[in-house]
């Protein structure tokens, strides 16, 4: 177990070019021992590069990687105390479950009795103890993935388990089981788990701390709640949550008032110090309420469409030629043409140059 630190790293796959393209722009990050992290972002955002730098498959062109105090930047994967779980379960099909789990310890020449003890313990946690003598080939996909994970868990020296979209090949109903196991394991062993995914639901469900990446940069790191309620950039607002955050270009009127077209809104952000012309108001469709009459922070909009999702209704409407989406309870009666929507001031986020202020 150890703390992982990425110190001013950056990576370009072609660092000697006159104008190198960085897959990962310069950043520093540290991963606390025992944390449960998700690395989230669309494909091509640099998350796999970051993972490979931690596992040692890629040596960063700039910066250093530390495990606790010792620098490991140039160490190869085998020398780092890292376990990896890939998209597809890596198992030795002809071996039994027991042999699969014992393999990493056998390779390191641990004494028989110690191996036995550890394998039994880990298999218990993973609910694999009834299959120990079965061949790994015949197991279900999620059990196979658990074996891949178990091979990391049997080693006490493992500093972190890195998982690259580990649930891709798992059936939806088994995903639930596996995700729950992962949490339990993290609670019990306090092993740092780092989970890479492009799926926000998976990331938010799994991790305490989510690192959102976009175009080679970390755009926000925080708890699921933070990401949802106070997205640090408009990208996070778009990427997290369904539907995406409503975003409108606006102009500052006074210290805490903005206007979108002819509508003015109070906000809880001091916007006196903004300089940029690029000012945006963001609000989650969940926080927008339907009112019966106009009041502060409300507006009248023309309904374009009301979709019934069963669990909720989604109103799409337009005002001042921009679209607004509001998510409301299914039971709510919605007028057919015009609707009054309120944008509560406490939930309005203001973005200057796409960054939250």
């Amino acid at each position: 177990m150890a703390k992982l630190v990425l110190d001013n790293i950056a990576h370009s796959y072609d660092p000697n070019a006159s104008n190198p393209v960085f897959a990962l722009k310069q950043m520093s990050l540290s991963w606390a021992d025992g944390g449960r992290y998700a690395l989230l972002g669309p494909s091509g955002c640099g998350k796999t590069t970051m993972l490979n730098i931690m596992s040692g498959l890629v040596t960063p062109s700039h910066g250093k990687v530390f495990f606790d105090q010792s620098e490991v930047t140039r160490m190869i994967t085998e020398e780092r105390n890292i376990a990896q779980v890939f998209q597809f379960p890596v198992i030795y099909g002809t071996m039994t479950v027991y042999e699969n789990l014992a393999f990493p310890l056998k390779c390191r020449q641990f004494p028989e009795d110690q191996i036995d003890k550890k394998v039994k313990e880990v298999s218990e946690i993973l609910n694999l103890h009834n299959f120990l003598d079965n061949r790994a080939k015949g197991l279900t996909a999620d059990q196979k993935q658990l074996i891949s994970l178990g091979r990391g868990l049997v080693r006490e020296d493992v500093a972190a388990i890195l998982m690259d979209e580990p649930l891709t090949v798992i059936d939806p109903d088994l995903k639930f089981r596996l995700r729950r196991k992962l949490k339990e394991i993290n609670d019990k062993y306090k092993t740092t788990l780092i989970y890479v995914t492009h799926d926000q639901n998976e990331a938010m469900t799994f991790a305490d701390n989510i690192i959102v990446m976009d175009q080679g940069e970390v755009v926000q790191a925080g708890s699921p709640k933070d990401l949802f309620e106070r997205p640090q950039t408009t990208f996070v607002g778009y990427f997290i949550g369904s539907p995406a955050m409503n975003l409108y270009e606006c102009s500052a009127n006074s210290e805490n008032q903005i206007s979108i077209g002819s509508n003015t809104f109070k906000v809880h952000t001091n916007i006196n110090n903004t300089h940029s012309k690029d000012l945006k108001l963001g609000i989650r469709s969940e926080y927008i309420t339907v009112e019966s009459k106009l009041s502060d922070n409300s507006l009248e909009a023309d309904i374009i469409e009301v979709e019934d999702f069963g669990n909720y209704k989604l109103i799409t409407a337009s005002f001042d030629s921009v679209k607004i989406k509001a998510k409301v309870k299914r039971e709510l009666d919605i007028p057919s043409e015009k609707v009054i929507l309120k944008l509560p001031a406490e939930h309005c986020c203001i973005y200057e140059d796409n960054k939250l202020i």
């Binding site: 708890s223 369904s242 969940e286 979709e307 669990n311």
Partner: protein
């Protein structure tokens, strides 16, 4: 003009892939086949396309026998969940392939292909190779190819399931627009999906299928509000409707030793006995006066949190309208709206729904 499927069955091995399926499809309408993985959705679509032949039953299209018509003469189009295109052809060649196959005139082909490409937003990608496109773009090519054909029957087999979350959100909205166009009114649209929200959003007729058998057909609203059986209620809700055994005795609904409620007036006419009690996850809510449940795991989905709860043998899922991580084994107080209870017979048939007249 309609497509009539009459008592078709397909049983290649021990299990039915299709079990006595009878359906009627009319042009200008959107049909959603909703069912879990391996429930027979794909088999049904392939049978309509002519790629599989049922063991018994008949299919009639526009009054004529359809089974004796080979695939290549059926005038259907199909989009798969995998991104299936012709890898040796570029985008424009892919889309014009079926039209060339029909030996249509060059200038008509050109016009049709351009139109289809505009619809799906592929202008500018004409000469790209398929391998150079992202997953979303590849699926657009497949979609454009089937639109350009103007086939009388358009089959869509979970076309969005393999796409990234955000892409799926955007493309689904586009789909809805595409299929509400005037061209679409001339063809039969059949869309297979595992996602109840998707089925609700598409807002056509829903056909619920499980283990090769059609369980219910009806409008989205009807199927959602009055599911014919407990199984349908599970399949048409995400998270699945909570179905637990319950017992009615002297106006009290007993779920287990801890959870017992006075039954609401609408249920007073129900005789004493054992039932299956259903309640939607969205109808459960946090309430300090509610019943104590242990949290097994919490999952964040979009803007909601799914709490997987347990009270002794009583298990359920509650949807909480916020993004928050709950720890395993945390105790929460949960209550529910009594008027939202569904009752099913022990054999599964619907007995009472909150929406029943």
């Amino acid at each position: 003009m309609s497509l009539l499927i009459d008592h078709i069955s397909l049983k290649p091995t021990e299990e039915y892939h299709l079990n006595d399926v009878t359906l009627n499809f009319n042009p200008g309408k959107m049909y959603t086949i909703l069912g879990r993985t391996l429930s027979g959705k794909t088999t049904l679509l392939k049978t309509i396309a002519g790629l599989q032949t049922p063991d018994s039953g008949s299919i009639k299209f526009e009054g004529a026998d359809f089974l004796s018509v080979p695939v290549w003469n059926r005038n259907v189009a199909m989009v798969y969940q995998q991104f299936i295109n012709y890898p040796h052809l570029n985008v424009i060649e892919n889309i014009s392939f079926p039209l060339k196959q029909r030996k249509m005139e060059e200038n008509i082909i050109e016009k049709e292909v351009k139109e289809a490409m505009e619809k799906v937003g592929l202008i500018g990608f004409e000469l790209r190779k398929i391998q150079e496109l992202s997953g979303g773009q590849q699926q657009r090519v497949a979609l454009a190819r089937s639109l350009a054909k103007k086939a009388k029957i358009l089959l869509l087999d979970e076309p969005l399931v393999n796409l990234d979350y955000k892409l799926r959100e955007g493309l689904r909205e586009e789909f809805k627009k595409l299929f509400s166009g005037s061209e679409a009114s001339k063809s039969i649209l059949i869309y297979a999906s595992t996602d109840p929200l998707e089925a609700m959003q598409l807002n056509g007729d829903i056909i619920v299928i499980d283990e090769g058998k059609v369980l219910q057909t009806g409008s989205a609203k009807e199927v959602f509000e009055n599911p014919a059986t407990a199984k349908v209620a599970e399949i048409t809700n995400d998270p699945a409707m909570n179905i637990n055994k319950g017992h009615i005795q002297d106006n009290t609904l007993v779920m287990n030793n801890n959870v017992q409620i006075q039954i609401p007036d609408q249920l007073k006419s129900i005789p004493n006995g054992d039932y299956q009690v259903g309640i939607r996850a969205t109808d459960l809510f946090l309430d300090d006066n509610g019943f104590s449940f242990d949290v097994e795991i919490s999952e964040i989905s979009g803007s909601e949190t799914f709490l997987h709860l347990r009270n002794n043998d009583l298990k359920c899922v509650a949807t909480i309208e916020e993004v928050k991580t709950y720890e395993a084994n945390e105790v929460v107080k949960i209550n529910f709206d009594k008027s939202k209870i569904y009752l099913f017979k022990e054999t599964g048939e619907l007995l009472h729904s909150p929406y029943q007249q």
